[in-house]
Structure formats: C-alpha cells, structure tokens
Amino acid sequence: MIHISELQKRYGKIEALRSINLDFDVSKVVALVGPNASGKTTLIKCLLGMVIADAGTILFDGKDIAGDVSYKKRIGYMPQIGRYPDNMRMGYLFRMMKDLGSNRVFDKFDEELIEAFGLPTMFNKPMRALSGGTRQKVSAALAFLFDPEVIILDEPTAGLDPLASELLKQKIAREKAAGKLILVTSHIMSEVEEMADQIAYIVEGEAIFYKTITEIKSETGENRLGQALFHLLHNRI
C-alpha cells in the first residue's frame, strides 16, 4: 500500500531522516518506535505532504505522492498535538471538516468515536477552552471521520484517560479487521504489544529493523516486548 524508498530530509544542519526504506501493507497495525527526535514524526509528516522530503520517493498504491494531493483523501491523521483555531466551537469544527471533506466518503461519516467519547455534549465549547485530553479525543475522532483506508496516529494515547484509550484501541482493532492499514507511534511498549503486528524501529533517521512482534520475541527468547527490544538493541551496540 505504501512504499518508501531512500527517503531523506534535513532541517538545516540536522539530518532528520537519513535513509528510510519501509513497506506498509493493508490489514496491519505497524508501530513506529524509536527514541525521541529519531524522525518518526518527520516521516509521518512526509507521508502527509506536510513536510517535503529532500530525496527519495513515497509510493502510495504505486503512485508517487510528490505534487499530488488526491491520495490524502484515503488517509486519516491524528497529530501528536492537535492544534485548532482557538475561537472555533467544537461542533462547528466537525461541521467544517465534514463540509471540506464531503467528497471523501462513499456512504456516511464514521462518527463512532465522536459518540463514544461523548463529544456532542461539548459541541458548544470553543476549542481554546478544551483540556489537552479532550483535544486528543477530537483529533482521534477526526482521524476516523472519513472512514479512510490508511490511518496514521502519532502518539494517540498520550494524554487520553484510561477509558478513552481503551475505546481507541478497540476502534483500532476493528478497523484493522476491516482491512485498514494503521500506523502508530508510541513510547509505551505494553501498548505497542497490545495493538501492533509489526514494529519499525527508527534511530537517527534510519529504520534499523522492521519485524513482526512474534519474530522479535522468538529471536530474543523474551516474553515481554520491552525486554525483547532492550535485548535486541543492546546486542547491536
């Protein structure tokens, strides 16, 4: 579905992405894992065309995304920190997004998360008055709103309450079963273990390995993913 080859990006002197080569397939949950500032968010932003790569290609369904925007119809994105116009009311924001994306859905909007998170009771509040967690809920609900084939979630459960993060994980599992591709970044290994099928481990702008969780566990002989990763990385150094 998504094929990334030799992707590079520099911000001035900082090399955010050295050379990323990855393939993502449908009906999978892929976790992008790595230390802070390793390039995970930059990679996601390249996928979304928010950051323009210096070199390398990203193929979406076999088509190069450079200079194209129509492929974004098929992607839902939840940013790490959702920033919204301060004065806009939540209900208006959802109405606006539906209006702007009215050509993106075949049948109807996926409003499951809006309902599950109980957002309609807060539709009258302006976005600036919302807590960080509530904004996260809005971002998550927006990512699924258009029922897209690819869903990209940048640290989705950071700041969510336990109930909401459970609801989100269940939603992710359902979408995966429905044949979607889901990309997640997370620093919480127990959560990655719970959600993901594959892990792409990114360090200093390079994917140093890309394996399924069962592979990682059997290679290292560890039962817990956190320990297995530690084992694997420790051996490399």
Binding site: Y11, M50, V69, S70, K72, P79, L100
Partner: protein, 255 residues
C-alpha cells in the same frame, strides 16, 4: 477554495479589531468632511489617512491574522487540498474583508461628499493599496515561522514604503540636482506603490501645479490615459508579484 474563503470570512467578521478599524476610518472620514467647508481640502487631508493608515492596518492586521490562523492552515494542509488553494483561499478571505472594511469606512463617506471623478480615483487607489499591502503581508508571513519576526518584517516593509523610500528618493534628487531627473523620477516612483497612489490622486485634484516642473512632467505622463494605464498596471503587478512569490515559498514550506 470557495469553502475556505467562506470559513475565513465567517471567522474574520467576528474580529473586534476589524470593527474598531471601520469605526476609526469612518470617524476620520466623516469628521474631515464635516469640519471643512471645502470638500477638496478634506479630501487632501484624508489622503494622508489613505497613504499611511490604510497600508499600515492592512499589512499588520493581515500578518497577525495569518499567524493566528496557522493552526487552521496546518489542519487544512493534512487534508486533500492543494497548498496553493489553501493559501489563495485565506488570501481572498482576508483581502475581501479588508476591502469591505475600506469601502465601509472610507468609500461610503467619499461617495456621499465627493462622488466625482477625483473621489472615484481616490477610492480606486485606496482599494489597490489595501490589496497590495495584504499581498506584501502574505509574503512577509510565509518567510518565517515566528510571529514576532513576521510582524517585524511587515512593519519594516511599511516603514520602507511610507518613509524610507521617499527619503532615499529625496537624497537621489538632491545629489543629482544638476541633471534633468524628471523622467527618472517617474520610473523611480513605480518602485513604490504608495507614491503611485499619491500621484494618481494628486493629479486628479488639480494641484499638481504645486509640484513645480516635476509636477508638470508628471501631469503630462500620468495625466494621459496611457500614463494612468501604466500606473494601474504597475500597481496590479505590486499585488501579483508578492502573492506569487508567497505561493511559491508556501508550496515548499515545512509545516
């Protein structure tokens, strides 16, 4: 793009600063017209508002508004929308509302008190100046990510066109006063849209005699249909070029 314009307009007309600007403009216009018995005198006083306040508010308000809607723009960039249509949508929204505000605050009183050819030229120059400074503000805004720096660039641009440029022009004319510079001044004034607007209005007010020999040359050039045509074309270029540059930069910007 029309949808983006719609949402920008919806947002911008609830802005209190814009309302204050309308009140300020109409107070000064109505005030000047009512205080003076001679309408053309009021118009020349109002010209100072037109040449100083209108560019300043246009460029500052647009820059601040752009940076305040950065979140909105970021949100849109992740959607299947072309970057050019996002920026153009915001541009048209801001430009349209600045024009509406100008016509409410200055247009209305001028038409009421001086609905003559001079009045219409006055309003045409004002509208062009408004849009020119909105364009310049967009260019200043996409050059940097930092709001303070963006506002700084905008203020400097305004300073340059209203004060510094004229200073340089005077210095050049003084230094080369032994040479015939009339034609050169015409060319140089094309480099400053504020000067162009001033010349267009002053010539229609028939006070170009006050400007001496240069005024006569201006009269000859800008008084003719071709001269006016050229002046208007140059002003439109002052709208288009900064906007096109801003679009080009925004297309490759990392958000």
């Amino acid at each position: 793009m029309t949808k983006i314009i719609k949402y920008i307009l919806h947002d911008i007309f609830r802005n209190r600063i814009l309302l204050a600007y309308v009140v300020l403009l109409s107070l000064s216009s109505f005030g000047l017209f009512m205080m003076n018995e001679d309408v053309s005198k009021s118009l020349s006083s109002l010209l100072n508002v037109l040449l100083i306040v209108v560019p300043l508010v246009s460029i500052l308000f647009t820059t601040v508004y752009f940076f305040n809607s950065y979140e909105f723009i970021e949100l849109l960039v992740a959607q299947p929308l072309r970057r050019s249509s996002i920026l153009l949508g915001v541009y048209c929204g801001v430009g349209l509302s600045m024009l509406v505000v100008f016509w409410l605050g200055v247009g209305l009183p001028v038409i009421l008190f001086e609905g003559t050819e001079v009045g219409w030229y006055f309003l045409l120059s004002g509208s062009l100046l408004t849009i020119i400074f909105v364009s310049l503000a967009f260019l200043a805004s996409v050059l940097t990510r930092d709001k303070t720096r963006g506002i700084g660039i905008s203020l400097l641009t305004w300073f340059y066109f209203t004060l510094i440029f004229d200073g340089i022009l005077l210095m050049v004319m003084f230094a080369f006063s032994d040479y015939p510079l009339e034609k050169t001044t015409i060319l140089l004034s094309c480099l400053n849209p504020v000067d162009l607007a001033r010349i267009l209005v002053l010539l229609k007010m028939d006070i170009s005699a006050l400007m001496g020999y240069t005024g006569a040359v201006f009269e000859q050039f800008f008084g003719s249909a071709i001269g006016i045509g050229i002046a208007l074309t140059v002003m439109i270029a002052w709208i288009a070029i900064p906007l096109l540059l801003a679009l080009q930069i925004f297309k490759n910007k990392n958000l």
